[in-house]
Subunit: 350 residues, 2 copies
């Protein structure tokens, strides 16, 4: 455990990287919070990546999610801070089975940052919000003195609405579920790292940043009928983090089939060069799902019919044996654990 | 207009200071946003410091507000970043006539920050939330590499609920309204600046940081019956900023009576030493109101009956002549403008 000169335990980059140290930090922050009902006719319920406020009169729930966006560089292959902030928030809501409704935006900006560049980020933020049909309803701006913040960060809170009987939860995987990924993994992390490290790749590897509305829409019936047991966009920590979390919370094991997992050659190459584990790096436009096996082929076909989901695959299934672990059947016939990342030390990936 | 070496217009500290440059920055960020209704049975309406989502079935509205908290130092006389984050958010909701319901919290932390100090902030945040009876329902944490962020900042979004017929709005002042302040002004700004500048004051000047639930509760009937036309906690930019904004939006003039405005001697002293305008510096536990003159004495008496409101005063009134301006009748009998601050250049005051 890392400490400073006085022996105090200190925050490491890995505490923000979506792995087990991230969980430790979150536990530290929330340990004394009493989630509770509020006594004015509108209660509050906990949910995986956010929370809901029941609207009993209309059998719906308001869904809430929060995100800090600190990506570096501000402009990367395929996107920028503004687009990332909207896509991240919209995807969190969609992955909870909700229709994105509105969001709040808080810009924190370094003194001396230039308006031209800010304008590009703001335009991208506002344009993507419009494309995603989500209203920006409240905001704040703060300026920090030069040298106390690197450039600009954006914090968003997303608000959506969903039918109260939709249950998409990390602890809801059933034995026999099929695991679906809606396209190639690791594109965002690999593109960002390649651009940061100045790798001169001849290919045009880009972030997969996108909002998942098209995919959400095509499987809306399956969502409403609870054929989707869990759903997540695997950002920080990649599919390794998401699947390990599911397996622990649902008390099942997950068995992945390596040869069915879609990965771009360029992404594999960047991971090889930089020593990254492709299962642990971020996507920004993919959905990972655990679905009722009776509907898996139907759901896969629907996803494949969309522009974003052409490369979707069933990449594994859940079992009862050896619960709380994720296994990979490798291409060469072996089996290995897919570990929860300790903390991948790719700072400012999202 | 300040520019960088390439001639680009740049962000100045004053763009974050609650004055007219702040308004310019906000306009820049929101200029392309189309506030719109969303077509799923739950619309979105704009409001002054936030927005509302109508819940027509129960004649209520969900109220939303957003805040970035960057205060420096993290611990100041009377409070800390954690307490400030909760009070700021709760007060924004109360000042919109809403009952605080829930909030989201986003912690952004510098690598190397120590857990002991973080723990103190987190405990204060969670404890104050409990005292204020507001649930923390979703959150996020990000870690930024050492040297790219000074310590830690918190971004919050508050969610409250109010009766749909309560109208407390910046553009709602009527000619003849009385202006009430619930206690002394400038305490927070003066205490923070004195501690930053290392002024060795023999007095124990503290921030007035507090949540205004007690005051909100005592005038709840007046809020429900729309005797309160406008209400705001005058933080960045002080009462000068709040009153100028009201006068412009409501097309009235505001006439303040200097001798009735409660100001602590120590606050006046700090302002004199540091060259600050007491009307332009932040309170963090005061409400400024424009109220129906028929109920002004009743409302004042109720506020004075609370612990927080003992020093409340009627400090002025609105008129139709010379609209969109704020005037001060000075102690020595003259009259001067109270200007909208351009930007007070007290960074990280809240």
């Amino acid at each position: 455990m890392e400490t400073d000169a006085k022996g105090s335990k200190i925050i490491r980059l890995a505490h923000g990287a979506g792995g087990s140290l991230q969980s430790e930090l979150i536990d530290f922050i929330v340990k004394d919070i009493a989630h509770k009902n509020v006594n004015n006719g509108v209660g509050v319920k906990e949910l995986d990546d956010g929370a809901t406020i029941p609207l009993q009169q209309i059998n719906k729930e308001i869904v809430i999610t929060a995100d800090g966006h600190t990506v570096f560089p501000l402009f990367f292959p395929g996107g920028d801070l503004g687009k990332l902030s909207i896509c991240g928030t919209v995807n969190d809501l969609l992955m909870m089975g909700a229709e994105p409704l509105a969001l709040t935006s808080i810009y924190i900006i370094e003194e001396g940052f230039d308006f031209d560049t800010l304008g590009k980020i703001v335009n991208s933020f506002n344009r993507t919000a419009k494309e995603a049909n989500i209203a920006i309803i409240a905001g704040d701006t703060k300026v920090m003195p030069k040298g106390t913040l690197n450039d600009v960060i954006i914090a968003t809170t997303g608000i959506g609405i969903k039918d109260e009987n939709i249950k998409i939860l990390d602890n809801n995987l059933k034995v026999g579920d099929k695991i679906i990924i809606t396209g190639t993994i690791g594109d965002h992390g690999a593109a960002l790292m390649a651009s940061r490290e100045g790798l001169n790749l001849t290919t045009d590897l880009k972030s997969d940043i996108a909002f998942l509305k098209e995919i959400h829409a095509t499987i809306e019936d399956n969502i409403r009928n609870n054929h989707i047991h869990a759903m997540k966009d695997p950002t920080r920590g990649g599919i390794a983090s998401a699947l390990n979390e599911w397996s622990v919370k649902s008390n099942v094991s997950v068995w992945l089939d390596e040869k069915s997992i879609p990965i771009k050659d360029e992404v594999n190459a960047v991971c090889d060069i930089l020593g990254l584990d492709v299962f642990q790096i971020a996507c920004e436009g993919k959905a990972l799902m655990a679905v009722d096996s009776n509907y898996a082929d139907e759901i896969l076909a629907k996803i494949k019919s969309t522009n974003l989901g052409k490369e979707a695959q069933i990449i594994g299934e859940t079992k009862s044996e050896n619960p709380k672990k994720v296994f990979l059947k490798t291409v060469i016939g072996g089996t290995r654990f897919v570990d929860m990342p300790l903390g991948e030390s790719i700072p400012r990936i999202c």
